[in-house]
């Protein structure tokens, strides 16, 4: 790990992420049956969302402005982004929860890297891989069926929004860490963040115009899935880019909150 100190901070973060991931994989491989079963179970979990959507869709006329193929694409993109964020940050909550419950957070402060960097780079969760595989396969299948009307630009925008979604998830986890350090035992805070983010799991057309405008711009829930899917389905409007701005602003605010909380943190140990 010595050579890491010669790199810039982002590069160090990437190296640290891979190092932590490798260590976690080695630990998980000690329980091989559980690990393999966990990967298989991830496929099952991935199927739940599309199954619910299919049942709702087949018993109604679906959502306005979205046909069945487009909804499938939407679901596939949702699985892909959820899988990716799970792989990158899936263990962050568990890590901070354990550190705070056991009073071990102080150790983080003694390490050579910023605590937030340590936390975010320890988020690897391999079970998200199954979701990514299912999401990618579903996306490719949908793209083959309906094409990409926006062409290459559509793919470029798709990847930009995908990165923004990952950034948004990082912000959500920073916020979670902030509250956990503040409250020590957050109980169902993870559920709250999941429920709030669930607003991005549906086409924005289900919301009234005021909320739709808010979610597609300043409160960037639409970045979760709507804009990435829309980018593949056709040219996106300028409002999509205000959602990008909203995402960056949100992450900056969460980082400021974290720094503020860290200053007022008082250790329970001696």
């Amino acid at each position: 790990m010595k050579k890491l100190h010669n790199l810039s901070l982002p590069a160090e973060a990437v190296s640290l992420f891979f190092f932590n991931s490798k260590m976690l994989l080695m630990r998980m491989m000690q329980y091989r049956f559980n690990f393999i079963m966990g990967l298989l179970v991830a496929f099952g979990f991935s199927a739940l969302g599309p199954l619910a959507q299919f049942m709702l869709y087949s018993n109604s006329n679906g959502y306005p402005g979205w046909n069945w193929d487009q909804i499938l694409l939407f679901q596939a993109v949702l699985l892909l982004v959820n899988g990716l964020t799970d792989i990158l940050f899936g263990s962050v909550r568990g890590t901070i929860d354990t550190l705070m419950e056991r009073g071990e957070f102080d150790r983080m402060l003694l390490r050579p890297y910023p605590p937030l960097m340590m936390l975010l780079t320890s988020g690897f969760k391999p079970y998200g891989l199954g979701t990514v595989v299912v999401g990618t396969a579903g996306m490719l299948w949908s793209v083959i069926r309906i094409g990409v009307p926006a062409g290459l630009t559509g793919f470029v925008f798709f990847f930009i929004f995908l990165l923004a979604r990952i950034l948004l998830q990082a912000g959500v986890h920073i916020l979670y860490c902030f509250f956990t350090v503040r409250w020590i035992y957050p109980m169902r805070l993870g559920e709250i963040t999941d429920k709030i983010l669930a607003y991005g799991n549906y086409p924005m057309e289900i919301y009234p115009i005021v909320l739709r405008t808010l979610f597609t711009t300043a409160l960037p829930f639409a970045i979760a899935c709507y804009w990435p899917a829309k980018a593949l389905l056709g040219p996106v409007s300028w409002t999509a880019f205000t959602a990008l701005g909203g995402t960056i602003l949100f992450v900056l605010v969460t980082v400021l909150l974290w720094k503020h909380q860290l200053k007022s943190y008082v250790s329970g140990g001696g």
């Binding site: 329980y31 049956f33 559980n34 690990f35 079963m37 966990g38 298989l40 179970v41 991830a42 099952g44 979990f45 739940l48 199954l51 619910a52 049942m55 709702l56 018993n59 109604s60 006329n61 679906g62 959502y63 306005p64 409250w183 020590i184 035992y185 957050p186 109980m187 169902r188 805070l189 559920e191 709250i192 429920k195 709030i196 669930a198 607003y199 549906y202 057309e205 289900i206 919301y207 009234p208 909320l211």
Partner: protein, 264 residues
């Protein structure tokens, strides 16, 4: 009379973290608003008065009730027992005067008592104010409480069973995830079982998982066929509970014989 004392101790521990208890007052409005928008759109776009027998209000309340049932049944027993086996703390549980089953049950009861008081009751008031449900009566709430109470014990017995399987699998994390998938699809927490094809629905409603969500939800929504169906289903659920408890007893005996602890 040690059990009530253990429950009281559990409650004291939970009350040390007051913020967590108030979380539901934040979570539930989010779920409520999302479901209202979602189902209003689905209903208005389809032009139907009901979907698979569920009206707009019933669909909104269905997913509210899924959350209510979690307030009644959720516990960490599978995780707790599994971790005790991995860490070796299971050895200490074997020499305690109170069985691990009773100890974990007291923790689960504490957790759910606080859940009912601080989550279920405020949430049901909140929902009733914003989306009044015409079929909700004291009878439906009573039937719901009884069936959700049975569901609590059944979920606890399932969780304890999964935890005990740690003696054979070492790590039960994946098995816990499998349980969630099964409950979501076969129990009715993901989507009402009536949305599946009729032949499949007829099978699913007879499985034990339906006792966790499907039946309590039906009774709450006033979709049950009177007291006759309620009594029949309650007895059926109790029989399934008996089966799970019996498996737990048998597995516990085998697990204790198999388990080896070191120390001293």
């Amino acid at each position: 009379m040690i059990f009530p004392t253990m429950v009281l101790m559990g409650l004291k521990r939970i009350f040390r973290y007051p913020w967590g208890l108030l979380m539901s007052l934040v979570i539930d409005p989010f779920i409520l608003i999302l479901n209202i928008f979602l189902f209003k759109t689905l209903f208005s776009y389809s032009g139907k008065a009901d979907i698979a027998g569920y009206s707009l209000e019933a669909m909104v309340w269905y997913y509210a009730c899924v959350q209510f049932i979690w307030y009644w049944i959720w516990n960490f027993t599978d995780r707790n027992v599994g971790q005790r086996i991995i860490s070796g703390d299971f050895t200490l549980d074997l020499i305690r005067p109170v069985s691990l089953f009773t100890f974990e049950l007291s923790r689960a009861v504490s957790l759910r008592l606080s859940g009912i008081v601080f989550e279920f009751i405020p949430s049901i008031i909140l929902y009733s104010i914003f989306v009044p449900y015409p079929l909700m009566t004291f009878t439906t709430i009573f039937q719901f409480c009884i069936s959700a109470g049975i569901a609590f014990f059944m979920f606890y017995a399932m969780n304890f069973l999964i935890g005990l399987l740690g003696n054979y699998l070492q790590n039960t994390d994946a098995l816990q995830a499998v349980k969630h998938i099964i409950i979501a699809t076969l129990g009715g927490s993901l989507i009402p079982l009536e949305f599946f094809p009729d032949a499949l629905t007829n099978v699913l409603i007879r499985l034990p998982f339906a006792s966790l969500f499907h039946w309590p939800l039906r009774f709450f929504l006033g979709m049950g066929n009177g007291w006759g169906e309620f009594l029949t289903q309650s007895v059926t659920s109790l029989c399934w509970l008996g089966v799970f408890l019996l498996i737990n007893v048998l597995l516990w005996k085998r697990a204790v014989r198999r388990f080896a602890g070191f120390g001293g």
